[in-house]
Every structure is written in structure tokens, then in C-alpha cells.
């Protein structure tokens, strides 16, 4: 069974990655390292909430394959 993943999700994550990288650079240049760190963390959390469905799908697939 082939589960087709939405390709848009990948693009979205890529876009968020680029934007977070830019934000990080801008904030570091302005001498706000801790806030740059926070934005990076926030980006990570946002992306994780977006892919959590896919991860749970992966676990489900593994479970069904091995009959657990």
C-alpha cells in the first residue's frame, strides 16, 4: 500500500526553514542572540506540529506490518 504524502507539506517546511534562517541571521546581526535562539526553537516546534500526523502515520504502518 502506497500512502501518498502531500508534496505541499514539504514545500511548506522548506519555506519555514528558509524564513527561520533569515530571522535568525537578522536577529544575530542586531545582537539579540537569545531571541534568535527562541525563533529557531519556535520554528522547530511549528514544523514538528506540522509533521506529527505523518509520524503517527509511520508508526501505524510499522505496527500493522509487524502485527503488533
Amino acid at each position: 500500500m502506497i500512502v501518498k504524502m502531500d508534496i505541499n507539506l514539504l514545500f511548506k517546511i522548506a519555506a519555514i526553514g528558509i524564513l527561520v534562517a533569515v530571522l535568525h541571521q537578522v536577529l544575530v546581526r542586531a545582537g539579540r542572540e537569545d531571541q534568535a535562539m527562541m525563533t529557531t526553537l519556535a520554528g522547530l516546534v511549528i514544523v514538528l506540529t506540522m509533521v506529527i500526523k505523518e509520524i503517527s502515520g509511520l508508526f501505524d504502518t510499522v505496527r500493522t506490518i509487524f502485527n503488533l
Binding site: 511548506k12 519555506a15 519555514i16 524564513l19 530571522l23 537578522v26 536577529l27 542586531a30 539579540r32
Partner: protein, 169 residues
């Protein structure tokens, strides 16, 4: 339906970009107003020492010469002087007019009012000189802050707007 969605996203982007620009402009405006205030005080100083005309008249003339919020401060102060004393009028005018100056700037300018219209010409001129010296420090401070924050906030507005749009799209 799709059109409405994209339209809303576009609006969010525009709003956040404008917000960033607005915050960035505050730093530019503060510097401009401080410099304007400095030149206004210069005019005030020379008028006090050479013309001996009463303070409300001088303020009225300065208000005509300088534009923006600083001109407004002077005209409000000169109008208030019809009813209250000069120092009260000046400090009230500073706090009432909605300018981009921060609390520290306002405090320094308020200190000017302590001797305003109470001492002789010499005393007033020295008070104006001291205020100008403090203002110079504030201007330097404003230049530093502007360099640090102006670009930051306009870029921040754009990138955060794009991020929101990407997450919601």
C-alpha cells in the same frame, strides 16, 4: 473561496510589513524630533539673549519655524502660558503632545522648565545650555538605537508576515 483565503493572507502580510515599518519609523522620528528640539532651543537661546521679548511670543515664533510635533509642543506651551505659569505650561505641553520622544527625553526637557521665566537672562541661558548638553547625549543615544533597530524591525515585519502566511497557507 480560494480567492478569499489568499486575499486574507495577503492582507495579513501587508499588515505585518506595515507594522514593522511603523515601529522602525519611530526610531527615525525620535532622532528627527530630538534634532529639531535642539535647533529650536538654539533659536530660543539666541532670542532670549538678544531680543528680550516675552517667552510666549518667542515660543509662538519658534512654533511657526519648526514643523511637526516639536512645533506643536511650542505652540501648546505658548497657549497654555496665558493661564498658568511658564514652567507648568512647558512641562504640561511636553507631556500632552503625542510625540516620539521617550520618557528620558521628556524628563530632560522638563528640567528646562524649572528655571523658565523665573530667573534673569543669564540663568535661563545657562539652563538652556545644560539642557542642550543633555540633549546631545540623547541624540547620540538615538543614533545608536536607530542604527541597531531600524533595519531590524522592518526586516522582522516582512519575515514574520511571510512566516505566518506560509504556516496558514
Amino acid at each position: 473561496m480560494l480567492f478569499v483565503k489568499y486575499f486574507m493572507l495577503f492582507l495579513i502580510l501587508v499588515a505585518s510589513v506595515l507594522l514593522g515599518k511603523n515601529i522602525a519609523r519611530k526610531y527615525v522620528n525620535r532622532l528627527k524630533e530630538l534634532e529639531e528640539m535642539r535647533t529650536a532651543l538654539n533659536i530660543f537661546r539666541s532670542k532670549v539673549s538678544f531680543t528680550y521679548s516675552p517667552i510666549p511670543e518667542i515660543f509662538e515664533e519658534i512654533a511657526k519655524d519648526s514643523k511637526g510635533n516639536i512645533g506643536k509642543i511650542f505652540s501648546v506651551a505658548s497657549k497654555k502660558m496665558e493661564k498658568v505659569t511658564a514652567n507648568i505650561a512647558w512641562s504640561e505641553a511636553i507631556n500632552e503632545v503625542d510625540s516620539n520622544l521617550n520618557k528620558e527625553d521628556k524628563k530632560i526637557l522638563e528640567n528646562l522648565s524649572k528655571l523658565l521665566g523665573q530667573t534673569d537672562v543669564e540663568g535661563q541661558i545657562s539652563q538652556i545650555d545644560i539642557t542642550q548638553k543633555f540633549l546631545d547625549n540623547q541624540i547620540q543615544d538615538a543614533i545608536d538605537e536607530k542604527q541597531k533597530n531600524e533595519k531590524l524591525y522592518s526586516k522582522l515585519g516582512i519575515t514574520i508576515g511571510l512566516a505566518i502566511v506560509v504556516v496558514l497557507a
